[in-house]
């Protein structure tokens, strides 16, 4: 028994384990065709995933040992397991972290399995691209989703104006805001949540202007002028009472029950297309989904269909081929597709979509239709975000938005800080 864990031993141990794993030499106990799977989600997703795992075991023989956690707990656990050389075989991965994990070989490149264990010829090209880091495939998209504006239809009826459609613009938003402000329903419900610190909204707005959040090289894709204009836009919306107060918006700390839509503070809220079902479960009013507002009539290109999440194969997995074949089964098997529905997003294989579409109910149908009919709102797929994007989002975009909202900083100050700070973070991460 180790009484004293020498730091050298600790380093040696974990790196040796990881090196051995990468070379495909796993410890004896991993040779059994047991595959470990880890994913985040709630019970609903867990039920579906377990059913598909059972189907896979029946079809291919590998037993799947699955574990699931809530989003917040998932990442520390996964990081701990990886640091301890104990990462699972199949790992659910997110856009935000895939670059980190891929760059450090904590997940394995899958190009070698294309055409073999992975039969993905008909896979949506943009979804396949979305899982690539530095040109290599690291994750298979489990479903496409797109950003979407959630709409509380009942609230709009109460105010007596038309709910927005995919054609709506920022000017239309101003008008809706004024209508809500004067109608003053439900204790002062505003038209829209405060989107100034929503990274997706900023991204969408920049893309409509021909810019982007990040460039393919990992630098910033916009300048100070854009940033200042962004904050000024939201100041205007805030002053005109179109969006919620900063105090209300600050109540939103992530969990669905804290969001403006569920707490009844606004009738519109930016979100993702695959979350409609979850929100509908919490809100008694009927909900709908439209695209983000256009900056002017006819201007599109802000949206893109992004992978909602991926399955990756663990870098130290002993049986990567079996893991890859599980992933393949997950996204292409028709029985599996029926079980999974669109809970993780819109399936990326046309054949799977065809199987799933007739089985969908209300909210799920709305989501599917929305993503399928984005039309000119769709723009090109952006390059994968640089590794430090998460930090830029939480440390700068979110915080600066709040500071401007509470009046602690002016739009000009915030715009400058955003650009300067983001550049600093990006260059530090790149070094």
């Amino acid at each position: 028994m180790t009484l004293k864990l020498d730091r050298r031993q600790f380093l040696m141990g974990s790196s040796a384990l990881m090196a051995a794993g990468a070379a495909g030499i796993g410890p004896a106990w991993a040779q059994a065709s047991n595959l470990r799977l880890i994913f985040w989600g709630g019970q609903d997703r867990a039920d579906r995933t377990y059913k598909v795992a059972d189907l896979f075991t029946a079809a291919k023989g590998n037993a799947i040992e699955a574990e699931f956690l809530a989003w917040n707990d998932y990442w520390p656990k996964l990081a701990t397991q990886t640091a301890g050389g104990n990462a699972p075989d199949i790992i659910q991965m997110d856009y935000r972290y895939i670059v980190e994990y891929a760059k450090r070989n904590a997940i394995a490149p899958l190009d070698d399995y294309l055409g073999g264990a992975l039969q993905l010829d008909a896979f949506d090209a943009d979804q396949l691209e979305g899982g690539k880091v530095d040109g290599k495939l690291y994750g298979i998209s489990l479903g496409a989703n797109s950003v979407a504006m959630l709409v509380n239809k009942a609230a709009f009826e109460e105010v007596g104006i038309d709910a927005p459609t995919n054609a709506w613009t920022l000017d239309a938003l101003m008008e809706m805001g004024e209508a809500f402000a004067s109608a003053n329903i439900r204790g002062g419900m505003r038209a829209i949540a405060d989107g100034s610190y929503s990274e997706p909204m900023l991204d969408n707005w920049l893309r409509q202007r021909g810019k982007a959040l990040y460039t393919a090289e990992g630098g910033l894709g916009f300048d100070e002028g854009d940033a200042v204009e962004w904050y000024q836009l939201w100041n205007k919306l805030r002053d005109a009472k179109v969006c919620v107060t900063p105090e209300d918006q600050a109540l939103d700390t992530g969990p669905l029950e804290t969001t403006m839509l569920v707490t009844g503070k606004s009738a519109l809220m930016p979100s993702n297309s695959n979350q409609l079902v979850a929100f509908q479960g919490l809100v008694p009013d009927p909900l709908d989904m439209v695209g983000y507002p256009r900056i002017a009539e006819g201007v599109g290109g802000g949206h893109y269909r992004k992978p909602s999440m991926f399955f990756s194969v663990g870098g130290t997995s002993a049986d990567k081929e079996a893991a890859a074949s599980f992933v393949n089964f997950f996204v292409s098997d028709p029985e599996a597709a029926k079980v999974l529905g669109v809970e993780r997003g819109i399936p990326c294989l046309p054949a799977t979509r065809d199987v799933v579409a007739p089985t969908l109910d209300g909210a799920n149908q709305i989501a599917l239709n929305f993503v399928a009919n984005l039309g000119d709102l769709l723009g090109p797929l952006p390059p994968p975000p640089p590794a430090a994007a998460g930090e830029v989002d939480s440390s700068l975009i979110r915080t600066l938005g709040q500071e401007v909202g509470f009046g602690a900083k002016s739009a000009e100050q915030a715009g400058k800080e955003l650009v300067d700070g983001a550049t600093a973070i990006l260059s530090r991460a790149a070094s």
Partner: protein
């Protein structure tokens, strides 16, 4: 003397080590024997990870690949180029200064009340401990929002008096106070410890004092408080250490963000963000050791000054 010197080599060649050891064992053996479980645990399970984390603080460790030695640069950055470090330190110190004394005051006050032995005592005791049972559950976050949000209970109560309160929990000026209130609301643990301490004061001392004509107030000052000082000391130290390390309330109420505008960015929350959010475990380890140094200084100072006011019976 010379005679002794002549014979001493022979005697000295006999087992000097054995006698030194057996002397050591006789004097200290029972102490170490009783301490054995702790020693095994310390050397086997605690020391290694502690030293590892100290080592990691001098590295760049992103959790997924092996650590990279970078010397003291983590510490340098912390003190020269990290605004969030200063913010989180400020938030935490503020929290400690306000939550600990208030919490202890409530705990002691209620413990004394409950020690009197009134009707319904066990029930009240359990009720006052209930908030601490709810601990770190997700429910607390939801509840605290219901109470302290703009349209929450507190404001509804205030509106009865015509006061329009802000959204306490999401306003950067007040959000930290809601966490302070949360900490105080969970005073059950120190209260129980005070109760146990009060219970250990023998009743006959009070009886003797009453017979001597001492009133309740005098009894409190001359008997209760002095005899309670070991427990007060314990609670003060422990609550302060825990307050410095406070993580879960801020984590669940702000969703791990330190919302709004980092006004609830507790030190360990910042540490956690660095470690698991941004994959900078090396830096997080450095942060942890700075905290340890700070708390250790405070504790050492408290112990040194404790001889002036803490009365032990030994």
């Amino acid at each position: 003397m010379t005679i002794a010197q002549d014979t001493s080599p022979a005697v000295a060649a006999a087992p000097p080590r054995a006698s030194a050891f057996s002397r050591f064992w006789q004097q200290n053996g029972s102490g170490y024997l009783f301490l054995l479980p702790w020693l095994i645990g310390f050397f086997g399970l605690t020391l290694g990870p502690m030293i590892s984390s100290l080592y990691l603080s001098f590295t760049d460790f992103d959790l997924l690949t092996a650590p990279d030695w970078v010397g003291a640069s983590n510490y340098v950055r912390m003190f020269t180029n990290d605004a969030k470090f200063a913010t989180s330190m400020r938030v935490t110190v503020f929290f400690v200064i306000f939550s600990v004394p208030l919490k202890l005051a409530f705990a002691l006050g209620v413990a004394m009340l409950l020690n009197r032995g009134m009707k319904g005592l066990p029930l009240y005791r359990a009720l006052f401990y209930l908030p601490s049972l709810l601990g770190a559950s997700v429910a607390i976050a939801i509840l605290w929002r219901q109470i302290f949000a703009g349209d929450g209970l507190v404001n509804k109560f205030l509106s009865l008096f015509g006061i329009v309160g802000p959204s306490w929990i999401s306003n950067p000026h007040y959000a930290l106070w809601t966490l302070i209130v949360l900490s105080i609301w969970q005073f059950g643990s120190p209260m129980i410890i005070f109760l146990a301490g009060l219970r250990q004061i023998p009743q006959d001392m009070y009886e003797a004092a009453s017979l001597d004509g001492a009133g309740k107030w005098r009894q409190f000052w001359k008997i209760t408080l002095p005899l309670l000082t070991p427990v007060v000391f314990f609670n003060a130290i422990i609550q302060t250490i825990e307050a410095f390390k406070s993580f879960t309330p801020a984590f669940i109420i702000s969703g791990g963000t330190g919302n709004p505008i980092n006004s609830t960015l507790f030190y360990t929350l910042y540490l956690y963000q660095e470690a698991f959010g941004f994959f900078r475990m090396g830096y997080a380890s450095a942060l942890a050791w700075v905290l340890l140094a700070l708390v250790a200084l405070f504790t050492a100072f408290s112990f040194l000054t404790s001889k002036y006011w803490v009365h032990y019976d030994d």
